[in-house]
Protein backbone atom coordinates (compact mmCIF):
# COMPACT_ATOMS: atom_id res chain seq x y z
CA UNK A 1 0.00 0.00 0.00
CA UNK A 2 1.31 3.41 -0.86
CA UNK A 3 0.00 6.88 -0.24
CA UNK A 4 1.49 10.21 -1.35
CA UNK A 5 0.59 13.60 -0.01
CA UNK A 6 2.13 17.04 -0.32
CA UNK A 7 2.71 19.51 2.57
CA UNK A 8 2.75 22.88 0.94
CA UNK A 9 3.98 24.74 4.05
CA UNK A 10 7.25 22.80 4.16
CA UNK A 11 7.26 21.98 0.44
CA UNK A 12 7.58 18.27 1.18
CA UNK A 13 6.24 15.23 -0.58
CA UNK A 14 5.35 12.56 1.97
CA UNK A 15 4.97 8.90 1.19
CA UNK A 16 3.35 6.41 3.52
CA UNK A 17 3.99 2.76 2.87
CA UNK A 18 3.19 -0.56 4.42
CA UNK A 19 3.44 -4.27 3.73
CA UNK A 20 5.64 -5.65 0.98
CA UNK A 21 7.08 -3.22 -1.53
CA UNK A 22 7.55 -5.86 -4.20
CA UNK A 23 8.48 -5.44 -7.84
CA UNK A 24 4.91 -5.07 -9.08
CA UNK A 25 4.02 -2.40 -6.52
CA UNK A 26 7.31 -0.63 -7.21
CA UNK A 27 6.75 -0.60 -10.95
CA UNK A 28 3.25 0.78 -10.52
CA UNK A 29 4.45 3.36 -8.03
CA UNK A 30 7.37 4.72 -10.02
CA UNK A 31 5.43 6.74 -12.69
CA UNK A 32 3.00 8.00 -10.05
CA UNK A 33 5.88 9.27 -7.94
CA UNK A 34 7.68 10.85 -10.88
CA UNK A 35 4.54 12.71 -11.87
CA UNK A 36 3.91 13.83 -8.32
CA UNK A 37 7.47 15.10 -7.98
CA UNK A 38 7.06 17.18 -11.12
CA UNK A 39 3.75 18.60 -9.88
CA UNK A 40 5.21 19.50 -6.49
CA UNK A 41 8.28 21.10 -8.04
CA UNK A 42 6.03 23.24 -10.21
CA UNK A 43 4.28 24.62 -7.16
CA UNK A 44 7.40 26.26 -5.77
CA UNK A 45 9.94 26.23 -8.57
CA UNK A 46 12.47 28.25 -6.62
CA UNK A 47 12.44 26.09 -3.51
CA UNK A 48 14.07 22.75 -2.88
CA UNK A 49 11.49 20.00 -2.75
CA UNK A 50 11.86 17.54 0.12
CA UNK A 51 10.78 13.92 -0.01
CA UNK A 52 10.11 11.87 3.08
CA UNK A 53 9.07 8.21 2.93
CA UNK A 54 7.48 6.77 6.03
CA UNK A 55 8.26 3.05 6.22
CA UNK A 56 6.14 2.39 9.29
CA UNK A 57 4.65 -1.04 8.56
CA UNK A 58 6.94 -1.90 5.64
CA UNK A 59 8.02 -5.53 5.97
CA UNK A 60 9.94 -6.11 2.76
CA UNK A 61 11.49 -4.07 -0.04
CA UNK A 62 12.83 -5.07 -3.42
CA UNK A 63 15.80 -3.67 -5.23
CA UNK A 64 13.36 -2.04 -7.65
CA UNK A 65 11.93 0.05 -4.85
CA UNK A 66 15.39 0.91 -3.57
CA UNK A 67 16.32 2.11 -7.03
CA UNK A 68 13.26 4.36 -7.00
CA UNK A 69 14.46 5.80 -3.68
CA UNK A 70 17.96 6.33 -5.05
CA UNK A 71 16.61 8.02 -8.19
CA UNK A 72 14.32 10.24 -6.10
CA UNK A 73 17.17 11.24 -3.83
CA UNK A 74 19.18 12.14 -6.89
CA UNK A 75 16.31 14.24 -8.27
CA UNK A 76 15.79 16.35 -5.16
CA UNK A 77 19.31 16.17 -3.76
CA UNK A 78 20.56 13.75 -1.13
CA UNK A 79 20.00 16.20 1.73
CA UNK A 80 16.34 16.59 0.81
CA UNK A 81 15.46 12.92 0.83
CA UNK A 82 14.79 10.76 3.85
CA UNK A 83 13.23 7.50 4.95
CA UNK A 84 11.80 7.29 8.44
CA UNK A 85 10.42 4.59 10.72
CA UNK A 86 12.22 1.67 9.12
CA UNK A 87 11.93 -1.60 11.00
CA UNK A 88 15.25 -3.23 11.98
CA UNK A 89 15.20 -5.69 9.06
CA UNK A 90 14.69 -2.93 6.51
CA UNK A 91 17.31 -0.81 8.28
CA UNK A 92 19.80 -3.68 8.00
CA UNK A 93 18.83 -4.30 4.39
CA UNK A 94 19.67 -0.68 3.55
CA UNK A 95 22.85 -0.98 5.63
CA UNK A 96 24.01 -4.08 3.72
CA UNK A 97 23.20 -2.33 0.47
CA UNK A 98 25.39 0.56 1.64
CA UNK A 99 22.51 3.00 1.14
CA UNK A 100 21.30 3.81 4.64
CA UNK A 101 23.27 7.06 4.79
CA UNK A 102 22.72 8.00 1.18
CA UNK A 103 18.97 7.69 1.71
CA UNK A 104 19.05 9.21 5.21
CA UNK A 105 17.24 6.17 6.56
CA UNK A 106 16.27 6.06 10.18
Amino acid sequence: MTNLNYSIDIHQLNGDFEGKLDTVISQEFQPVLELEIEKCKARKPNNNLKICFNFQGVEFITSTFIRICVASAKTVGKENFSIVNTNPLIKKTLKIAGLDEELNAS
Binding site: T23, I66, K92, T93, I96, A97, G98
Partner: protein, 476 residues
Protein backbone atom coordinates in the same frame (compact mmCIF):
# COMPACT_ATOMS: atom_id res chain seq x y z
CA UNK B 1 39.49 4.38 -13.25
CA UNK B 2 40.05 1.55 -15.71
CA UNK B 3 37.16 0.14 -17.71
CA UNK B 4 37.56 -3.17 -15.92
CA UNK B 5 37.34 -1.48 -12.55
CA UNK B 6 34.15 0.24 -13.67
CA UNK B 7 32.66 -3.06 -14.80
CA UNK B 8 33.64 -4.68 -11.50
CA UNK B 9 32.08 -1.77 -9.58
CA UNK B 10 28.87 -2.14 -11.50
CA UNK B 11 28.70 -5.90 -11.04
CA UNK B 12 29.44 -5.68 -7.32
CA UNK B 13 27.02 -2.78 -6.86
CA UNK B 14 24.23 -4.92 -8.28
CA UNK B 15 25.35 -7.95 -6.32
CA UNK B 16 25.43 -6.02 -3.04
CA UNK B 17 21.87 -4.85 -3.62
CA UNK B 18 20.78 -8.39 -4.49
CA UNK B 19 22.48 -9.63 -1.33
CA UNK B 20 20.71 -7.03 0.77
CA UNK B 21 17.37 -8.11 -0.68
CA UNK B 22 18.21 -11.78 -0.13
CA UNK B 23 18.88 -11.04 3.51
CA UNK B 24 15.14 -10.47 4.01
CA UNK B 25 14.20 -13.96 2.79
CA UNK B 26 13.25 -16.73 5.21
CA UNK B 27 13.98 -20.43 4.84
CA UNK B 28 10.72 -21.19 3.08
CA UNK B 29 11.18 -18.49 0.46
CA UNK B 30 14.80 -19.53 -0.04
CA UNK B 31 13.92 -23.19 -0.45
CA UNK B 32 11.20 -22.35 -2.95
CA UNK B 33 13.76 -20.55 -5.12
CA UNK B 34 16.23 -23.42 -4.83
CA UNK B 35 13.50 -25.94 -5.76
CA UNK B 36 12.62 -24.05 -8.92
CA UNK B 37 16.21 -23.44 -9.98
CA UNK B 38 17.03 -27.09 -9.41
CA UNK B 39 14.12 -28.10 -11.65
CA UNK B 40 15.18 -25.71 -14.40
CA UNK B 41 18.84 -26.72 -14.25
CA UNK B 42 18.00 -30.41 -14.15
CA UNK B 43 15.63 -30.15 -17.10
CA UNK B 44 18.39 -28.50 -19.15
CA UNK B 45 20.98 -31.17 -18.28
CA UNK B 46 21.21 -32.76 -21.74
CA UNK B 47 21.18 -29.53 -23.74
CA UNK B 48 23.84 -27.98 -21.52
CA UNK B 49 25.97 -31.13 -21.60
CA UNK B 50 25.95 -31.24 -25.38
CA UNK B 51 26.83 -27.56 -25.54
CA UNK B 52 29.65 -28.02 -23.02
CA UNK B 53 31.18 -31.01 -24.82
CA UNK B 54 30.96 -29.36 -28.21
CA UNK B 55 32.22 -25.94 -27.13
CA UNK B 56 35.06 -27.10 -24.88
CA UNK B 57 36.09 -30.04 -27.04
CA UNK B 58 36.66 -32.02 -23.87
CA UNK B 59 35.09 -35.20 -22.62
CA UNK B 60 31.89 -36.92 -23.61
CA UNK B 61 28.47 -35.28 -23.67
CA UNK B 62 26.85 -38.34 -22.10
CA UNK B 63 29.21 -38.08 -19.12
CA UNK B 64 28.64 -34.37 -18.94
CA UNK B 65 24.93 -35.13 -18.61
CA UNK B 66 25.80 -37.22 -15.55
CA UNK B 67 27.95 -34.36 -14.23
CA UNK B 68 25.00 -32.00 -14.67
CA UNK B 69 22.83 -34.49 -12.80
CA UNK B 70 25.42 -34.57 -10.01
CA UNK B 71 25.54 -30.77 -10.02
CA UNK B 72 21.74 -30.50 -9.74
CA UNK B 73 19.91 -33.57 -8.47
CA UNK B 74 22.56 -34.87 -6.09
CA UNK B 75 23.59 -31.43 -4.90
CA UNK B 76 19.93 -30.59 -4.33
CA UNK B 77 19.40 -33.85 -2.41
CA UNK B 78 22.35 -33.07 -0.18
CA UNK B 79 21.26 -29.51 0.67
CA UNK B 80 17.48 -29.47 0.48
CA UNK B 81 16.88 -30.18 4.17
CA UNK B 82 19.74 -28.03 5.38
CA UNK B 83 18.83 -24.98 7.42
CA UNK B 84 20.56 -21.93 6.01
CA UNK B 85 18.34 -19.02 7.05
CA UNK B 86 17.50 -17.75 10.49
CA UNK B 87 17.84 -20.08 13.49
CA UNK B 88 19.60 -23.24 12.37
CA UNK B 89 20.13 -24.93 15.73
CA UNK B 90 19.35 -24.59 19.41
CA UNK B 91 21.22 -26.52 22.07
CA UNK B 92 19.43 -25.92 25.35
CA UNK B 93 22.08 -27.83 27.28
CA UNK B 94 24.95 -25.62 26.21
CA UNK B 95 22.74 -22.55 25.87
CA UNK B 96 23.98 -21.89 22.38
CA UNK B 97 21.70 -21.03 19.50
CA UNK B 98 23.04 -20.72 15.98
CA UNK B 99 21.74 -18.23 13.44
CA UNK B 100 22.73 -18.34 9.77
CA UNK B 101 23.55 -15.14 7.95
CA UNK B 102 24.34 -14.90 4.26
CA UNK B 103 27.91 -13.91 3.53
CA UNK B 104 27.28 -11.60 0.58
CA UNK B 105 28.49 -11.53 -3.01
CA UNK B 106 30.39 -14.60 -4.17
CA UNK B 107 32.68 -14.79 -7.17
CA UNK B 108 32.40 -18.22 -8.77
CA UNK B 109 35.23 -19.25 -11.05
CA UNK B 110 34.40 -22.06 -13.44
CA UNK B 111 36.87 -24.60 -14.84
CA UNK B 112 36.91 -25.69 -18.46
CA UNK B 113 36.85 -29.35 -17.39
CA UNK B 114 33.41 -29.22 -15.72
CA UNK B 115 31.80 -26.03 -16.98
CA UNK B 116 28.01 -26.32 -16.83
CA UNK B 117 27.91 -28.76 -13.91
CA UNK B 118 30.02 -26.40 -11.80
CA UNK B 119 27.85 -23.42 -12.74
CA UNK B 120 24.70 -25.33 -11.74
CA UNK B 121 26.28 -26.54 -8.51
CA UNK B 122 27.55 -23.11 -7.48
CA UNK B 123 24.22 -21.47 -8.26
CA UNK B 124 22.33 -23.94 -6.09
CA UNK B 125 24.62 -23.63 -3.08
CA UNK B 126 24.76 -19.83 -3.39
CA UNK B 127 21.00 -19.43 -3.60
CA UNK B 128 20.49 -21.92 -0.78
CA UNK B 129 22.70 -19.74 1.40
CA UNK B 130 20.96 -16.53 0.19
CA UNK B 131 24.03 -15.15 -1.54
CA UNK B 132 24.32 -13.50 -4.94
CA UNK B 133 26.94 -14.98 -7.25
CA UNK B 134 28.96 -13.55 -10.12
CA UNK B 135 30.59 -15.97 -12.53
CA UNK B 136 33.83 -15.94 -14.44
CA UNK B 137 33.52 -18.58 -17.12
CA UNK B 138 36.25 -20.31 -19.13
CA UNK B 139 37.33 -18.70 -22.35
CA UNK B 140 36.96 -21.96 -24.24
CA UNK B 141 33.43 -22.68 -22.98
CA UNK B 142 31.64 -19.39 -22.33
CA UNK B 143 28.36 -19.97 -24.14
CA UNK B 144 27.35 -23.18 -22.37
CA UNK B 145 28.00 -21.44 -19.05
CA UNK B 146 26.03 -18.38 -20.14
CA UNK B 147 23.12 -20.58 -21.11
CA UNK B 148 23.24 -22.38 -17.74
CA UNK B 149 23.26 -19.02 -15.95
CA UNK B 150 20.42 -17.71 -18.12
CA UNK B 151 18.22 -20.75 -17.44
CA UNK B 152 18.81 -20.67 -13.70
CA UNK B 153 18.47 -16.90 -13.38
CA UNK B 154 15.17 -16.91 -15.21
CA UNK B 155 13.85 -19.65 -12.93
CA UNK B 156 15.18 -17.86 -9.85
CA UNK B 157 13.47 -14.59 -10.77
CA UNK B 158 10.19 -16.37 -11.46
CA UNK B 159 10.44 -17.91 -8.02
CA UNK B 160 10.89 -14.49 -6.43
CA UNK B 161 14.68 -14.27 -6.13
CA UNK B 162 16.26 -10.81 -6.05
CA UNK B 163 17.19 -9.17 -9.30
CA UNK B 164 20.89 -9.67 -10.17
CA UNK B 165 21.26 -12.60 -7.76
CA UNK B 166 23.16 -14.40 -10.54
CA UNK B 167 25.47 -12.46 -12.85
CA UNK B 168 28.24 -13.29 -15.26
CA UNK B 169 31.28 -11.31 -16.32
CA UNK B 170 30.62 -9.76 -19.74
CA UNK B 171 33.98 -11.08 -20.89
CA UNK B 172 36.61 -13.45 -19.57
CA UNK B 173 40.02 -11.95 -19.11
CA UNK B 174 42.62 -11.75 -16.37
CA UNK B 175 42.26 -8.02 -15.71
CA UNK B 176 38.52 -8.13 -15.11
CA UNK B 177 38.79 -11.31 -13.06
CA UNK B 178 41.44 -9.61 -10.95
CA UNK B 179 39.32 -6.49 -10.43
CA UNK B 180 36.41 -8.58 -9.20
CA UNK B 181 38.64 -10.75 -7.03
CA UNK B 182 40.14 -7.78 -5.20
CA UNK B 183 36.94 -5.74 -5.03
CA UNK B 184 36.21 -4.53 -1.49
CA UNK B 185 32.51 -5.35 -1.82
CA UNK B 186 33.18 -9.00 -2.66
CA UNK B 187 32.64 -11.43 0.21
CA UNK B 188 34.10 -14.71 -1.06
CA UNK B 189 35.82 -16.25 -4.04
CA UNK B 190 34.70 -19.77 -4.83
CA UNK B 191 37.65 -20.77 -6.94
CA UNK B 192 37.57 -24.02 -8.86
CA UNK B 193 40.41 -24.20 -11.33
CA UNK B 194 44.13 -24.51 -11.77
CA UNK B 195 46.80 -23.80 -9.19
CA UNK B 196 47.61 -20.32 -10.52
CA UNK B 197 44.02 -19.22 -10.39
CA UNK B 198 43.45 -20.59 -6.91
CA UNK B 199 46.64 -18.92 -5.73
CA UNK B 200 45.45 -15.62 -7.22
CA UNK B 201 42.16 -16.03 -5.37
CA UNK B 202 43.92 -16.59 -2.06
CA UNK B 203 46.21 -13.64 -2.71
CA UNK B 204 43.36 -11.26 -3.46
CA UNK B 205 42.79 -10.06 0.08
CA UNK B 206 39.25 -11.42 0.01
CA UNK B 207 38.26 -14.70 1.65
CA UNK B 208 38.47 -17.65 -0.73
CA UNK B 209 37.43 -21.26 -0.86
CA UNK B 210 39.63 -22.97 -3.38
CA UNK B 211 40.67 -26.35 -4.55
CA UNK B 212 44.05 -27.91 -5.06
CA UNK B 213 45.45 -29.99 -7.87
CA UNK B 214 44.90 -33.70 -7.67
CA UNK B 215 47.44 -36.42 -8.27
CA UNK B 216 45.40 -39.30 -7.01
CA UNK B 217 47.33 -42.45 -6.08
CA UNK B 218 45.42 -45.71 -5.86
CA UNK B 219 46.81 -48.63 -3.90
CA UNK B 220 45.59 -52.08 -4.86
CA UNK B 221 46.41 -54.20 -1.85
CA UNK B 222 47.02 -57.94 -1.98
CA UNK B 223 43.79 -58.39 -0.01
CA UNK B 224 41.78 -56.60 -2.73
CA UNK B 225 39.31 -58.17 -5.12
CA UNK B 226 41.43 -57.43 -8.17
CA UNK B 227 38.81 -57.70 -10.97
CA UNK B 228 36.49 -55.50 -8.89
CA UNK B 229 39.25 -52.96 -8.25
CA UNK B 230 40.26 -52.78 -11.89
CA UNK B 231 36.66 -52.45 -13.08
CA UNK B 232 36.08 -49.57 -10.66
CA UNK B 233 39.30 -47.80 -11.60
CA UNK B 234 38.46 -48.02 -15.29
CA UNK B 235 34.92 -46.70 -14.75
CA UNK B 236 36.30 -43.79 -12.83
CA UNK B 237 39.35 -42.94 -14.93
CA UNK B 238 37.45 -43.08 -18.21
CA UNK B 239 34.59 -40.91 -16.92
CA UNK B 240 34.39 -37.86 -19.17
CA UNK B 241 37.79 -38.88 -20.56
CA UNK B 242 39.45 -38.29 -17.20
CA UNK B 243 38.63 -34.61 -16.78
CA UNK B 244 37.71 -34.81 -13.10
CA UNK B 245 40.51 -33.75 -10.74
CA UNK B 246 39.65 -36.63 -8.40
CA UNK B 247 40.37 -39.18 -11.12
CA UNK B 248 43.00 -41.84 -10.60
CA UNK B 249 46.47 -40.85 -11.80
CA UNK B 250 48.59 -43.78 -10.64
CA UNK B 251 47.97 -47.35 -9.59
CA UNK B 252 50.40 -48.89 -7.14
CA UNK B 253 50.49 -52.55 -6.16
CA UNK B 254 52.83 -55.08 -4.65
CA UNK B 255 54.98 -57.10 -7.00
CA UNK B 256 53.34 -60.29 -5.73
CA UNK B 257 50.02 -59.34 -7.34
CA UNK B 258 51.30 -57.10 -10.12
CA UNK B 259 51.03 -59.71 -12.88
CA UNK B 260 47.42 -60.41 -11.93
CA UNK B 261 46.59 -56.72 -11.86
CA UNK B 262 48.22 -56.16 -15.27
CA UNK B 263 46.39 -59.14 -16.75
CA UNK B 264 43.11 -57.88 -15.37
CA UNK B 265 43.60 -54.38 -16.79
CA UNK B 266 44.41 -55.94 -20.17
CA UNK B 267 41.45 -58.28 -19.89
CA UNK B 268 39.16 -55.33 -19.24
CA UNK B 269 40.36 -53.37 -22.26
CA UNK B 270 43.35 -51.31 -21.16
CA UNK B 271 46.66 -51.19 -22.95
CA UNK B 272 50.12 -51.26 -21.37
CA UNK B 273 52.53 -49.10 -23.33
CA UNK B 274 56.03 -50.28 -24.16
CA UNK B 275 59.02 -48.02 -23.51
CA UNK B 276 58.96 -46.31 -26.89
CA UNK B 277 55.23 -45.72 -26.70
CA UNK B 278 55.57 -44.44 -23.15
CA UNK B 279 58.14 -41.90 -24.31
CA UNK B 280 55.79 -40.74 -27.08
CA UNK B 281 52.92 -40.32 -24.63
CA UNK B 282 55.16 -38.47 -22.15
CA UNK B 283 56.16 -36.07 -24.90
CA UNK B 284 52.58 -35.02 -25.67
CA UNK B 285 50.93 -35.38 -22.28
CA UNK B 286 53.09 -33.14 -20.15
CA UNK B 287 54.85 -29.88 -20.73
CA UNK B 288 58.10 -30.32 -18.80
CA UNK B 289 59.18 -26.75 -19.46
CA UNK B 290 56.09 -25.30 -17.82
CA UNK B 291 55.69 -28.15 -15.37
CA UNK B 292 52.03 -28.73 -16.24
CA UNK B 293 49.95 -31.28 -18.10
CA UNK B 294 49.44 -30.50 -21.76
CA UNK B 295 46.06 -28.90 -22.47
CA UNK B 296 46.01 -30.80 -25.77
CA UNK B 297 45.37 -34.15 -24.10
CA UNK B 298 43.00 -33.04 -21.35
CA UNK B 299 39.65 -34.76 -21.72
CA UNK B 300 40.58 -36.40 -25.01
CA UNK B 301 39.72 -40.00 -25.94
CA UNK B 302 42.40 -42.68 -26.28
CA UNK B 303 42.01 -42.72 -30.06
CA UNK B 304 42.89 -39.03 -30.35
CA UNK B 305 45.77 -39.25 -27.88
CA UNK B 306 47.11 -42.26 -29.79
CA UNK B 307 46.92 -40.36 -33.05
CA UNK B 308 48.59 -37.31 -31.55
CA UNK B 309 51.44 -39.38 -30.19
CA UNK B 310 51.82 -41.73 -33.14
CA UNK B 311 51.11 -44.96 -31.30
CA UNK B 312 48.70 -47.69 -32.32
CA UNK B 313 46.93 -49.34 -29.40
CA UNK B 314 44.27 -52.02 -30.02
CA UNK B 315 40.88 -50.72 -31.08
CA UNK B 316 38.58 -50.02 -28.19
CA UNK B 317 41.38 -49.39 -25.70
CA UNK B 318 39.92 -47.70 -22.64
CA UNK B 319 43.05 -46.47 -20.87
CA UNK B 320 46.70 -46.18 -21.84
CA UNK B 321 48.83 -47.45 -18.97
CA UNK B 322 52.53 -46.78 -18.59
CA UNK B 323 54.68 -48.80 -16.24
CA UNK B 324 56.80 -46.39 -14.26
CA UNK B 325 59.71 -46.79 -11.91
CA UNK B 326 60.28 -43.26 -10.74
CA UNK B 327 58.28 -40.50 -9.13
CA UNK B 328 59.21 -36.82 -9.41
CA UNK B 329 58.76 -33.64 -11.34
CA UNK B 330 61.08 -34.88 -14.07
CA UNK B 331 58.92 -37.97 -14.58
CA UNK B 332 55.95 -36.68 -16.53
CA UNK B 333 53.57 -39.56 -16.01
CA UNK B 334 53.94 -39.48 -12.24
CA UNK B 335 52.05 -36.19 -12.32
CA UNK B 336 48.45 -35.17 -12.80
CA UNK B 337 47.16 -35.68 -16.34
CA UNK B 338 43.41 -35.32 -16.80
CA UNK B 339 43.10 -37.82 -19.63
CA UNK B 340 42.73 -41.61 -19.94
CA UNK B 341 46.42 -42.13 -19.20
CA UNK B 342 47.46 -43.97 -16.06
CA UNK B 343 50.83 -44.61 -14.43
CA UNK B 344 51.47 -48.05 -12.98
CA UNK B 345 53.94 -48.86 -10.21
CA UNK B 346 55.05 -52.23 -8.88
CA UNK B 347 56.41 -52.08 -5.37
CA UNK B 348 58.47 -54.87 -3.80
CA UNK B 349 56.18 -55.11 -0.78
CA UNK B 350 53.26 -53.45 0.95
CA UNK B 351 55.33 -50.93 2.90
CA UNK B 352 57.10 -49.84 -0.28
CA UNK B 353 53.73 -49.53 -2.03
CA UNK B 354 52.48 -47.18 0.66
CA UNK B 355 55.68 -45.14 0.43
CA UNK B 356 55.23 -44.77 -3.33
CA UNK B 357 51.70 -43.56 -2.71
CA UNK B 358 53.08 -40.98 -0.26
CA UNK B 359 55.52 -39.75 -2.90
CA UNK B 360 52.76 -39.49 -5.51
CA UNK B 361 50.43 -37.82 -3.03
CA UNK B 362 53.02 -35.19 -2.14
CA UNK B 363 54.26 -34.72 -5.68
CA UNK B 364 51.30 -32.58 -6.67
CA UNK B 365 48.08 -33.76 -5.13
CA UNK B 366 48.56 -33.20 -1.46
CA UNK B 367 45.28 -32.74 0.38
CA UNK B 368 43.10 -33.87 -2.52
CA UNK B 369 42.08 -37.52 -2.85
CA UNK B 370 43.67 -40.96 -2.49
CA UNK B 371 42.23 -44.42 -2.80
CA UNK B 372 42.76 -47.98 -1.68
CA UNK B 373 41.30 -51.28 -2.73
CA UNK B 374 41.68 -53.75 0.12
CA UNK B 375 39.79 -56.11 2.34
CA UNK B 376 42.17 -55.80 5.25
CA UNK B 377 40.96 -53.25 7.78
CA UNK B 378 44.39 -52.67 9.28
CA UNK B 379 45.88 -51.82 5.92
CA UNK B 380 42.98 -49.54 5.07
CA UNK B 381 43.50 -47.72 8.36
CA UNK B 382 47.27 -47.50 7.93
CA UNK B 383 46.91 -46.14 4.41
CA UNK B 384 44.27 -43.64 5.52
CA UNK B 385 46.39 -42.34 8.40
CA UNK B 386 49.46 -41.94 6.22
CA UNK B 387 47.94 -40.22 3.19
CA UNK B 388 47.44 -36.46 3.20
CA UNK B 389 44.11 -36.29 1.42
CA UNK B 390 40.76 -34.70 2.17
CA UNK B 391 39.05 -37.79 0.85
CA UNK B 392 40.30 -41.38 1.13
CA UNK B 393 38.24 -43.62 -1.13
CA UNK B 394 37.99 -47.23 0.01
CA UNK B 395 36.98 -49.81 -2.59
CA UNK B 396 35.36 -46.94 -4.48
CA UNK B 397 35.93 -45.29 -7.86
CA UNK B 398 37.64 -42.07 -6.87
CA UNK B 399 35.79 -39.73 -9.22
CA UNK B 400 32.28 -40.83 -8.33
CA UNK B 401 33.31 -41.32 -4.71
CA UNK B 402 34.99 -37.98 -4.13
CA UNK B 403 32.11 -35.86 -5.38
CA UNK B 404 29.82 -37.47 -2.82
CA UNK B 405 26.25 -38.67 -2.92
CA UNK B 406 26.78 -41.76 -5.07
CA UNK B 407 29.09 -44.15 -3.23
CA UNK B 408 28.97 -42.42 0.14
CA UNK B 409 27.16 -39.64 1.94
CA UNK B 410 29.82 -36.96 1.57
CA UNK B 411 28.11 -33.68 0.62
CA UNK B 412 27.81 -33.66 -3.14
CA UNK B 413 30.19 -31.05 -4.48
CA UNK B 414 32.17 -30.02 -7.50
CA UNK B 415 34.58 -28.01 -5.37
CA UNK B 416 36.69 -30.38 -3.33
CA UNK B 417 38.66 -28.69 -0.58
CA UNK B 418 42.23 -29.87 -0.19
CA UNK B 419 43.13 -28.48 3.21
CA UNK B 420 46.31 -26.62 3.93
CA UNK B 421 48.28 -29.12 1.84
CA UNK B 422 46.48 -27.79 -1.21
CA UNK B 423 46.69 -24.25 0.22
CA UNK B 424 42.99 -24.38 1.05
CA UNK B 425 41.19 -23.55 4.25
CA UNK B 426 39.13 -26.74 4.33
CA UNK B 427 39.31 -30.40 3.34
CA UNK B 428 35.53 -30.51 3.05
CA UNK B 429 33.44 -31.03 -0.02
CA UNK B 430 32.39 -27.40 -0.29
CA UNK B 431 28.64 -26.91 -0.07
CA UNK B 432 25.96 -24.48 1.10
CA UNK B 433 26.96 -24.53 4.76
CA UNK B 434 30.39 -23.21 3.79
CA UNK B 435 28.68 -20.11 2.42
CA UNK B 436 26.99 -18.85 5.56
CA UNK B 437 28.22 -16.95 8.55
CA UNK B 438 27.05 -18.68 11.70
CA UNK B 439 26.29 -16.44 14.64
CA UNK B 440 26.29 -18.11 18.04
CA UNK B 441 23.88 -16.66 20.52
CA UNK B 442 25.26 -17.62 23.90
CA UNK B 443 23.01 -17.73 26.95
CA UNK B 444 24.57 -17.35 30.36
CA UNK B 445 25.95 -20.72 31.52
CA UNK B 446 28.61 -19.86 34.04
CA UNK B 447 31.77 -21.82 34.57
CA UNK B 448 31.44 -22.57 38.27
CA UNK B 449 35.07 -23.59 38.66
CA UNK B 450 36.16 -20.22 37.33
CA UNK B 451 33.85 -18.22 39.57
CA UNK B 452 34.50 -20.28 42.71
CA UNK B 453 38.26 -20.02 42.39
CA UNK B 454 40.08 -17.19 44.12
CA UNK B 455 41.58 -15.50 41.06
CA UNK B 456 44.04 -13.46 43.10
CA UNK B 457 46.03 -16.69 43.28
CA UNK B 458 46.92 -16.33 39.60
CA UNK B 459 48.94 -13.27 40.63
CA UNK B 460 51.00 -15.24 43.15
CA UNK B 461 54.17 -16.35 41.36
CA UNK B 462 55.04 -18.80 44.14
CA UNK B 463 52.10 -21.00 43.09
CA UNK B 464 52.86 -23.39 40.26
CA UNK B 465 50.43 -25.12 37.92
CA UNK B 466 49.90 -28.07 40.27
CA UNK B 467 49.01 -25.78 43.18
CA UNK B 468 46.59 -23.82 41.08
CA UNK B 469 44.90 -26.78 39.40
CA UNK B 470 44.54 -28.63 42.69
CA UNK B 471 42.49 -25.81 44.10
CA UNK B 472 40.76 -24.96 40.83
CA UNK B 473 39.45 -28.51 40.51
CA UNK B 474 38.82 -29.02 44.20
CA UNK B 475 35.38 -30.49 45.01
CA UNK B 476 34.53 -31.16 41.38
Amino acid sequence: MSDYKKIADELLGKAILAGAMFHQFNQEQTDHIVDKVFEAGFNARVRLAKMAAEESGLGLWQHKVIKNVVGTQLVYDSIKHEKTAGVISIDHKSGIMEIAQPIGPIFGIIPITNPTSTVLFKILISLKSRNPIIFSVPRRAPECCRKAVEICYEAALKAGAPEDCIQILPETNRELTHEVMVHPKLSLILATGGTGLVHAAYSSGNPALGVGPGNVPILIDSSADIPFAVENIINSKTFDNGTVCASEQSVVCEKAIAARVVAEFEHQGCYFLNKDETAKIEAIAFNQEKGVMSADVVGQPVTKIAKMSGIDPPEGTKILIAKQEHIGIEYSLSQEILAPILAFYEAPDYQSAIKECIDLNYLGGVGHTAGIYANDEERILEFSKIMNAGRIMVNTPSVQGAVGGIFNILPTSLTLGCGTGGKNITTENVTAHNLINIQRVCRRKVNEKWFNFDQSKYMDESLDINDILKEYNSNY
